[in-house]
Amino acid sequence: MRLAEYRYRTVTAVRGPLLFLARVFAARIGEVVTIIAPDGRRIDGEVLKIDGDLVVVQVFGDTVGLDTDRTEVRFTDVVKLAPLGLGCLGRIFDGSFRPRDGLPMFTPERWQPVSGAPFNPVARAHPEEFIETGVSAIDGLNTLVKGQKLPVFTCAGLPARELTEQLLRQARLPAGGPFVLVFVALGLTHFEYQHYARTLAELTGEYVAFVNLADEPVIERLLAPRLGLTVAEELAFAGGLDVLVIIADMANYCDALREVATAREELPGRRGYPGHMYSDLASLYERAGRLRDRRGSVTLLPVVTMPEDDITHPIPDLTGYITEGQLVLSRQLHQLGIFPPIDVLPSLSRLMNHGIGEAHTRADHRDLAGRLYRAYAKGRELRRLEAVVGRDGLLEDDRRMLDFATRFEQAFVHQGAARRTIAETLDLGARLLAEFGQGPPC
């Protein structure tokens, strides 16, 4: 441990979000630095790379106005830490953990590294407690459980925000208790954020928000989710609370990652995203979970906009490889006026199996979900056939399945702003199946 702060005016180059320094003594990887611009502005940074006495620093802020003569860099000898404590509840911070709600900073009870530490896999408890979101397409067919990470895959222009807000308002634990919400906004427009802010203000439960807007420093987008998750872990595993983390929009995180990688002259991978993006995203998403010997949980619902509506784009693709399923929004359903426009066919909650049934929801849940899914899938498949051979070219039974698919979309998936309990959802599903002669086999 070095005892003093070290100050340098040895910046040799500034490139994108990176600062290059020479003649630095004993820097540490990940060490936090404070950069003092010639105009007195202070920006935080982090040591990315050290080669002898040459150091590369990633700047969490705008590098405009930095120079090579007068810019001063102070090395602090510590890695990036997040201030923690119950004082953060009900507060809104920026992407560097500064208050943006006009109130003074709270007094931290302790500090933790923002990168967190991986769970020991044998210490994890397998997620299996049902969360009632009040949305039929989720609760009935893609059930969310405590400790799961389940992204919403959306396309530009689809109402992902409206769905997210609905989840923020409605999500309930089995015992009826509310969640503590951690909301992380990454690169959102002011317009979108205003809506979210209103929802946050109306919440009855506790929340903490980290907000980075579209015109704020790109690099803070790499930091904000880590701050949010560090706070979430603390509330969950030290405080014993159930925490729901919503991050919107992770596509902006990935773009920030690409920007830094390019500035570092890393070899670009698919679509220019760095080869380590899988590991990097995993270092965030894997922080969701539960522990065997402790109360509390972190459940993660990231929103991911699929560039060009393409689910094979590296951003949704790598996300899908890490998360425990996905909720996919559909442009077609949206155009039909269905809200939420969740396409249940490509959607999947991989942990659903463990969170439903007698002990969690209802004994007939698994069977109902299976039959609803199969009937709808069949109807959707027949729609393609109908497009070719016409409705009259179809068998009588098949025409009925076609009608079922339409009815399912309009009555079950579509629900507007209403909240449905799990019992209402399951009853509705059973009624629809019975209507179309798809009742339980005798």
């Binding site: 820097a27 020991n120 896999p121």
Partner: protein, 542 residues
């Protein structure tokens, strides 16, 4: 000897410690983070650090870790859960708590654990490497202890002894321990490879019937996200007819590992009636654990698998996912600023992968027995595009290809094995073996394949003329093919159907085909399709 850290870029650290060899273990920094030498440059070495190294500074000391990276092999591996460096995770949890903090480095096996040794020879006997000294009981099996040096046995233990104690002493004074250390990257030798000839029963109908594998063979399971690789690997891990299973969670989800551990602790091995975990070794290096340890995890795991193979056992090695290993290799290669090949993977990806996969096979063991090591490896192609380098490199060396299909998965057809694209080089000879035990196997298999193929052709016709436009015979075929898909090829891993013994597999197939034949005969006798079907549904007992 000690040196110091000169530069740090991610997990790659340059040090100035002389006298190292590539592959040597070093301890980096005041926190003594373990690392492996990956390259030498004059007196400097480039080291890949196996732990999160945030906070590591240049100028910090570096120590020689005493030779290459090793695994510890001996009784007590079964039932254990390790990380990619073979650290026992339950012990690490006891020492460090729920999170993987840096520092603790417990011995992989419990040295104090007591084993009952039954001598297999008497003092005074002359032994050579590979000779049996005796056995200890490990779970469901007699674990043979072999001599690894030549000499005359002066003293031999009998009864209970701790793992740390010697099991025999040679006349020259040398001691033979119960355990040994083995360099992870070096394949364990055998007396030679044999031709695989015994089928590996997986309990998966689609695999056992259509694409069976021999023990000692290698299959890859490529598939996009959510197509069922993990569920398939875990099902096979539960039910395969082998003695030992080594399961590596390589760069995948922590919750999946927790689920597997819960399940394996509570399930019984159908063959021995003992807890499933007793025949299983788990290596868990989840996606958020350090990348360098992820790279080494498959070597750690395969060395343990080879060890049990060398005891004359049938071992199954399952890795989920090999792509994450390849990506770790790519990250390391990029940090070393190596010239990238296709998609950024190092140009040696193919050869490294081939050398790894070649560790599978049936061997004559040093003791003269036969052991097998089979591999079933998940591959995660970006965008489910199978032309990518990792899938292609695997295809060149793996004998079986179980392609998982995103379209089938979206239809909830699980396991989503594409029956037209998948293959196994062992399929035909293995089917002959099955046919020997289950007469009719080969014939029914032929009919299944034919029906599925006909369905494909007819489907194209139906897309033009509609189902109403098909001939009655063809409508029957479409109906049977649908039943084959839904009731035979589909197998839900979360129900009692998760395991299907070969006899049950054949029976289920035969029942569907018999019904097909009956309705066919009714059509021949002049009934219409709906009449024939109605009669079947009313009369025939299902």
């Amino acid at each position: 000897m000690s040196g110091q850290v000169i530069s740090i870029s991610g997990a790659t650290v340059r040090i100035d410690l002389p006298g190292l060899k590539v592959g040597d273990r070093v301890l980096v920094g005041v926190q003594r983070l373990p690392g492996e030498v990956v390259r030498l440059h004059g007196a400097q070495a480039i080291v890949q650090v196996f732990e999160e190294n945030r906070g590591l500074g240049v100028g910090e000391p570096v120590r020689d870790g005493g030779g290459p990276l090793k695994v510890v092999l001996g009784p007590g591996l079964l039932g254990q859960v390790f990380d990619g460096l073979q650290r026992p995770l339950p012990e690490l949890r006891r020492l460090d708590g729920a999170f993987m903090r840096r520092g603790s480095d417990p011995f992989p096996l419990d040295l104090a654990r007591r084993w009952t040794f039954r001598p297999g020879l008497a003092a005074g006997a002359a032994v050579a490497p590979g000779d049996l000294l005796g056995t200890v009981r490990e779970g469901h099996l007699d674990h043979p202890i072999f001599a690894r040096e030549s000499g005359e046995v002066a003293w031999l233990a009998a009864g209970e002894l701790p793992l740390a104690a010697p099991v025999a002493r040679l006349a020259g004074g040398g001691e033979l321990p119960l355990w040994q250390a083995w360099p992870v990257r070096r394949p364990r030798p055998s007396r030679g490879k044999q031709v695989p000839a015994r089928p590996l029963v997986t309990g998966q109908r689609a695999l056992d019937l259509l694409f069976p594998l021999f023990k000692g063979g290698v299959a890859i399971i490529p598939g996009g996200f959510g197509t069922g690789k993990t569920v398939l690997e875990q099902s096979i891990a539960k039910y395969a007819d082998v003695d030992v299973v080594v399961y590596v969670g390589c760069g995948e989800r922590g919750n999946e590992m927790a689920g597997l551990l819960d399940e394996f602790a509570s399930l019984e091995d159908p063959r021995s009636g003992r807890p499933l975990m007793e025949r299983t070794i788990v290596v868990a290096n989840t996606s958020n654990m350090p990348v360098a340890a992820r790279e080494s995890s498959i070597f750690t795991a395969v060395s343990m698998a080879e060890y049990y193979r060398d005891l004359g056992l049938d071992v199954l090695f399952l890795a989920d996912s090999l792509s994450r290993w390849a990506e770790a290799l790519r990250e390391i290669s990029a940090a070393l600023e190596e010239m990238p090949g296709e998609d950024g993977y190092p140009t040696y990806l193919g050869s490294k992968l081939a050398a790894f996969i070649e560790r599978a096979g049936v061997v004559e063991t040093a003791a003269g027995g036969t052991g097998s090591l089979s591999m079933i490896l998940a591959v995660s192609p970006p965008g489910a595009d199978f032309s990518e380098p990792v899938t292609q490199a695997c295809l060149r060396v793996a004998g079986a290809f179980y392609q998982l299909d995103t379209r089938l998965a979206h239809r909830r057809h699980f396991p989503a094995i594409n029956w037209t694209q998948s293959y196994s080089q062992h399929a035909d000879p293995a089917a002959v073996c099955f046919d020997g035990d289950h007469p009719g196997w080969g014939e029914q298999r032929r009919r299944l394949r034919e029906l599925l193929q006909r369905e494909d052709e007819l489907r194209e016709v139906a897309e033009v003329v509609g189902m109403e436009g098909l001939q009655e015979r063809d409508r029957l075929l479409m109906r049977t093919a649908e039943r084959l898909r839904l009731e035979f090829l589909c197998q839900n891993s979360f129900t009692a159907d998760a395991y299907s013994a070969p006899a049950a597999t054949l029976q289920r197939l035969a029942a569907i085909l018999v019904e097909h034949d009956r309705i066919g005969a009714a059509l021949d006798s002049g009934l219409t399709y709906s009449e024939a079907l109605a009669r079947e549904v009313c009369d025939a007992p299902r």
